[in-house]
């Protein structure tokens, strides 16, 4: 659904996005992670044909960005929730959506049906006649998502959809995105909330001007160090460490009375490790596993 090949955008001497190559399948929820100024919004703006590219190519729904004949076609199949929701605060919730429905040439019946559906789904139906300016941040965010969906776009770009929302509003928005996932919308989610990305996204990309990594959250975590097994002992001695190292070429480290072993398949190897530790005179108190979080991966990549 989205294909970018060496997509680059420069502003004078500043490179905002550098040689981005990316493929996103239809129906996929893709999370784009990166610190502020990493180029996430610039990427979305390029893919939405809001700003031009400096070099490279990208296609959205098979249409090429930057190609004059395709730009309008891309705009018809995408929906955008920008970082700032940008509602018409003096207009009612209903009229905000109706206005966008008219832009996308929906009939009056289609507009009425879709507006009612989205406002009911988001719990805003009772407030349809209230000005958007009177809404809370969470309600505004929900209304803006409904606006981006009014024409049933194939690709939905969400730029920081839960930024500045309280936990309850964030959860409502996240749940709504998960509902959309069930409906097979392709969703491009810009966020710096790693927990959100992990919960919602099929795959994530980590961007810092260049794309540093792209994979499923699970595989990214595994790529950092696999799984670490922490063996708490009464005391650690050289014989215990040597016995463990004899079993395989695993990375081991000793912290206090803890022996930490990085193994790729812990379920298979832990019984042997515990056995070897016992035979070497070690007394095992507990065995636990620690898995790297997406945050560990993110911080390692962004700081490197």
């Amino acid at each position: 659904m989205i294909d970018a090949e060496n997509l680059t955008r420069k502003f004078d001497n500043l490179t905002a996005v550098d040689n981005l190559t990316l493929h996103i399948d239809e129906g996929e929820v893709f999370g784009f992670l990166g610190p502020n100024g990493a180029g996430k919004t610039t990427t979305v703006r390029m893919l939405c044909c809001l700003i031009g590219k400096t070099s490279g190519t990208a296609k959205v729904g098979g249409y090429e960005i930057g190609n004059a004949a395709d730009i309008q076609k891309i705009r018809k199949i995408i929906g955008l929730l920008p970082e700032n929701v940008g509602l018409y605060e003096d207009m009612s919730a209903y009229k905000n959506l109706d206005f966008y429905g008219k832009i996308y040439k929906l009939t009056e019946t289609q507009r009425r049906e879709r507006i009612e559906r989205f406002l009911r789904m988001l719990g805003l139906w009772e407030k349809q006649d209230q000005p958007a300016g009177s809404f809370s941040k969470g309600m505004k965010q929900k209304l803006a998502i409904a606006r981006a969906l009014i024409h049933d776009p194939k690709v939905l770009f969400l730029d920081e959809p839960t930024a500045n929302l309280d936990p309850e509003a964030s959860k409502t928005v996240r749940d709504f995105i998960l509902e959309l996932k069930k409906e097979k919308h392709t969703i491009f989610l810009n966020t710096h909330l790693l927990d959100e990305a992990e919960r919602i996204c099929d795959r994530v990309g980590i961007l810092k001007t260049k794309l540093l990594a792209v994979d499923t959250p699970e595989r990214l975590r595994q790529s950092l160090w696999g799984t670490k097994t922490v063996i708490q002992l009464e005391s650690v001695n050289d014989a215990v460490v040597a016995a463990v190292k004899k079993l395989g070429s695993w990375q081991t480290e000793v912290t206090g009375n803890k022996l930490i072993v990085s193994v790729s398949n812990p379920e298979h190897h832990i019984p042997d490790i515990v056995d070897a530790v016992g035979k070497a005179g070690g007394r095992v108190q507990s065995v636990t596993q620690i898995t790297p979080t997406l945050e560990d991966v993110y911080l390692k990549l962004v700081r490197s």
Binding site: I51, N84, Y104
Partner: protein, 245 residues
């Protein structure tokens, strides 16, 4: 260009303007004061010396009609600045720009909204003004002064061109202005050339007759065309998102 899109934008903006009391009142107030106040001046000026002489009346009335041109220069400023800078401040342009609408359709829709409301207010004010003037001066002049060619040129040629000029200037100002008031203050400068023309007419430097009004219109039309191309260049998605302050 899809005119339905243009009207969708224009009607949305008009709907917002009509809800904003500050915009509504400021649009109505000037034409209303001119429509009622200026005929009262004609009625009561020089009472002590028997009023304005019949021979001087046409000159006075024509000069007063020029106030509607000044109104055409000033009224769209408030509306256009809200339409463009207001939308920039509220950050509502980005979602709009991500739709299939073209830059030209958005710009034209906004321009029509900012142009239409002041134009209608001025036409309504001028109609009331003409009716009062006719009622007041009919006895002294022996005929209805309005409608006449001068009024037709002012209302149907000069006023629309000046309204358009005002809107186009505001589009250019919008690219640099960070708030609605700053844009209004800058746009307000536009009134001065017309005040200067009015004063020049009053002190006899130029004669504001129909021919000269048409010449002034031709000059404004040329400026309008120039500003149209400049504003088209300014109102582009990339410019708005990356260069508008």
């Amino acid at each position: 260009m899809d005119l339905q899109n243009v009207w969708t934008i224009a009607s949305k903006d008009l709907g917002i303007f009509l809800k904003k009391k500050s915009i509504l009142y400021s649009t109505i107030l000037f034409p209303l004061i001119a429509a009622i106040g200026l005929p009262l001046v004609v009625e009561f000026a020089g009472q002590a010396v028997g009023g304005i002489p019949a021979t001087a009346l046409p000159g006075v009335i024509d000069a007063f009609l020029f106030f509607f041109i000044i109104g055409a220069a000033s009224l769209p400023v408030g509306i256009a600045s809200y339409s463009l800078v207001g939308e920039k401040v509220e950050k509502s342009l980005e979602p709009l720009l991500s739709t299939p609408m073209t830059d030209g359709e958005i710009l034209l829709g906004k321009s029509i909204a900012a142009f239409l409301l002041p134009l209608l207010a001025i036409y309504a004010g001028a109609t009331i003004f003409a009716a009062f003037i006719d009622a007041i001066t009919r006895g002294q002049l022996g005929y209805f002064y309005f409608p006449n060619a001068s009024m037709a040129v002012i209302l149907f040629v000069v006023v629309p061109l000046v309204c358009l000029l005002s809107v186009e200037v505001l589009i250019l100002v919008s690219a640099r202005a960070n708030d609605v008031r700053a844009a209004q203050q800058f746009g307000g400068v536009l009134v001065f050339p017309f005040v200067v023309i009015y004063v020049a007419g009053e002190i006899g430097i130029i004669n504001l007759n129909t021919t000269n009004l048409l010449l002034i219109s031709a000059a404004i039309l040329a400026i309008d065309i120039l500003l149209f191309f400049l504003s088209r260049g300014t109102f582009q998605r990339e410019e708005i998102l990356t260069k508008w302050k």
